[in-house]
């Protein structure tokens, strides 16, 4: 499976409070959450993001609260993949559970620029920056994680397992 899109680049320690501020947590509806995604550090994000676009950030992406609303908000915004140097552990787990693809790749996180067009292949882990021509290797997902992603998250994956 491949995804491609335009890059929204952020720095280190992007926390869950800026991904989705707590004042909006009175509803867990993805349509409501996407209206406020990233608004405290990037007000125009929701107007500029297109389906398939990719977020690239530095260290410790998703630090802070355990709110699953954060990966849900990013996914509902249309983001097809988040690439970071590394992720905070609860966010990492939550992303897989809700079916938001994430890749750890320090080199890509450093070199990819805001606005670049990039492509990522989940089977090989190869990330290609089509704007600069650079290629980066990340560790591909193991099979079961790919299946979780393909089923839209842990619930869909569990349901499909129960059906088989």
């Amino acid at each position: 499976m491949k995804v491609s899109g335009r890059v929204f680049k952020y720095g280190d320690n992007v926390d869950t409070d800026v991904i989705i501020p707590a004042r909006y947590l009175t509803s867990a509806d993805p349509e409501h959450l996407k209206e406020h995604c990233m608004e405290d550090i990037d007000k125009s994000f929701k107007d500029r993001v297109n389906a398939g676009d990719i977020m690239v950030a530095g260290r410790n992406f998703g630090c802070g609260s355990s709110r699953e609303h954060a990966p849900v908000a990013i996914k509902a915004s249309g983001i097809s993949l988040v690439i970071a140097n590394d992720f905070a552990r609860i966010f990492y787990r939550n992303s897989i559970n809700v079916g938001l693809p994430i890749l750890e790749c320090p080199e890509a996180a450093l070199k990819i620029n805001d606005g670049d067009e990039i492509e990522a292949d989940f089977d090989t882990g190869i990330i290609t920056d089509k704007t600069t021509g650079e290629r980066f290797a990340s560790k591909p997902f193991p099979e079961f994680i790919k299946n979780i992603m393909a089923n839209g998250g842990l619930v869909g994956y569990t349901e499909s397992g129960l059906r088989d």
Binding site: N13, D15, D17, V18, P21, A22, R23, L25, T26, S27, A28, D40, I41, R59, N60, C63, G64, S65, S66, R67, E68, H69, D86, A88, R89, I90, R93, N94, N97, V98, G153, L154, V155, T158, E159
Partner: protein, 424 residues
């Protein structure tokens, strides 16, 4: 293979003789916790899974503490979802506001004697790591993990590497566990313990009260740690003899000790004598500085309380400092006893009277995450004993939060700026 405290608890709950860092294991859970923000989405997932009952109604805990008493219609609906589920499934540890058992989740689970040494707890709240203070393993998860754990009473873990924090010495006057954990976060950064456990050891742990240890472990997540954990000592045993005498007498708990030759990816040696009253300036908990170097920073609000610093010792420290003094005319000082028990004890001790005389308002929790009960306007600055000072955490994206322990917060309330008790 030698193991740390965390590794031993995980191995035991997975039915294994030993585990090593990086192992993926499925472990049995003693308690599964959710709050009013994270439980309603979990209930949705739980219902979608088509499971009839929770795995154990005594071991699934549901605590409404973020947006309560309900701040608006939407939060009232969230709480109603939880209340209905709790009643239908006869959840033992679900309480309505005002009951003697009720309070902030991370204050009442230890204080009501629910969590004991050796327990394995997950909670859909990042500060679930608090209970490591009792020698248990506890960590935060999201709502989907919560739902699956509610159904099955098990979850998977990756066994973490550990950082050992070796403590020596004694705190100087007014310095507390909050200053210690802020100092550690300042040293290693907000991702310094990412995916790892933070294991405390050394003679210096005797300088930390149980309330102090709970504060330290509460903020382990703020340096990225999976959990923080203290060894069980006489303080722990005395604490649980009060919180759960029945199980204490029967020795119905388990003490895990790290092997002498357990491996650590890093060892931090900290002499408590060297720690000063510390603050974390906006907008990261790692942005630490001595409080005495920030006395030119004017403030608009002070918050004393939360799951980090809302325990009896904290409210007592605030009352002792503020007794006979007045909160600065330009400052609102909000004090939040962390539970109904803490509130009542503070009332019986005359502390609420002292705080009231000083001009504080006594409230319930909510300002920490900008929920309600003390949200900041644009340009406002707050000294807070809470745990995060991210952009917009307590209100407007252009407001500021300075984290501190109770002595600095209480002193700052009087001074109208960041300050320390020796200035009063």
């Amino acid at each position: 293979m030698p193991m740390t405290m965390t590794q031993k608890i995980l191995a035991d709950h997975a039915g294994l003789d030993s585990v090593a860092p990086g192992d993926l294991i499925e472990a049995k859970l003693d308690y599964v916790l959710g709050n009013d923000v994270t439980t309603p989405p979990a209930i949705k997932v739980f219902e979608k899974l088509g499971v009839k009952d929770v795995f154990d109604k005594d071991r699934v805990l549901m605590i409404q503490d973020h947006f309560t008493p309900n701040k608006d219609i939407k939060s009232a609906e969230l709480n109603k979802t939880m209340r209905c589920f709790a009643r239908e499934h006869e959840i033992t540890h679900y309480y309505e506001l005002g009951r003697r058992e009720m309070g902030i989740e991370h204050v009442i689970l230890p204080d009501n004697g629910i969590v004991l040494p050796g327990d394995l707890v997950i909670g859909a709240d990042s500060h679930t790591c608090t209970y490591g203070a009792l020698g248990s393993f506890s960590t935060g998860v999201g709502s989907t993990d919560l739902a699956c754990a509610m159904a099955r009473g098990v979850t998977w873990f990756k066994v973490p590497e550990a950082i050992k924090v070796n403590l020596t010495g004694r705190f100087k006057k007014f310095v507390t566990g909050k200053d210690l954990i802020l100092t550690i976060i300042g040293m290693i950064g907000v991702d310094g313990a990412l995916y790892k456990s933070l294991e405390f050891d050394g003679d210096g742990i005797k300088a930390l009260s149980m309330d102090g240890r709970l504060t330290v472990c509460n903020m382990a997540i703020e340096c990225g740690a999976k959990n923080g954990i203290f060894p069980v000592d006489n303080y722990t045993l005395k604490y649980i003899s009060r919180t759960n005498p029945e199980r204490f007498i029967k020795s119905d708990y388990k003490v895990y000790t790290a092997d002498e030759d357990a491996e650590y990816s890093q060892v931090l040696d900290i002499n408590l004598d060297d720690i000063d009253l510390t603050v974390a300036l906006p907008h990261l908990p790692s942005n630490t500085k001595k409080a005495s170097e920030c006395t030119d920073m004017k403030i608009d609000q002070v918050v004393i309380g939360s799951c980090t610093n809302g325990r009896l010792e904290d409210i007592g420290a605030a009352a002792t400092i503020l007794k006979g003094l007045k909160v600065h005319k330009d400052v609102r000082c909000i004090v939040i006893p962390g539970s109904q028990k803490v509130y009542r004890q503070a009332l019986d001790n005359g502390w609420l009277q002292d705080l009231d005389d000083a001009g504080c308002v006594i409230s319930t929790c909510g300002p920490c995450l900008g929920g309600h009960m003390g949200v900041l306007a644009k340009g406002e600055r707050c000294v807070s004993t809470t745990n995060r000072n991210f952009v917009g955490r307590m209100g407007d994206p252009e407001s500021e939060v300075i984290l501190s322990g109770v002595p600095v917060a209480a002193s700052s309330a009087v001074l109208g700026r960041v300050g320390t008790p020796d200035e009063l």
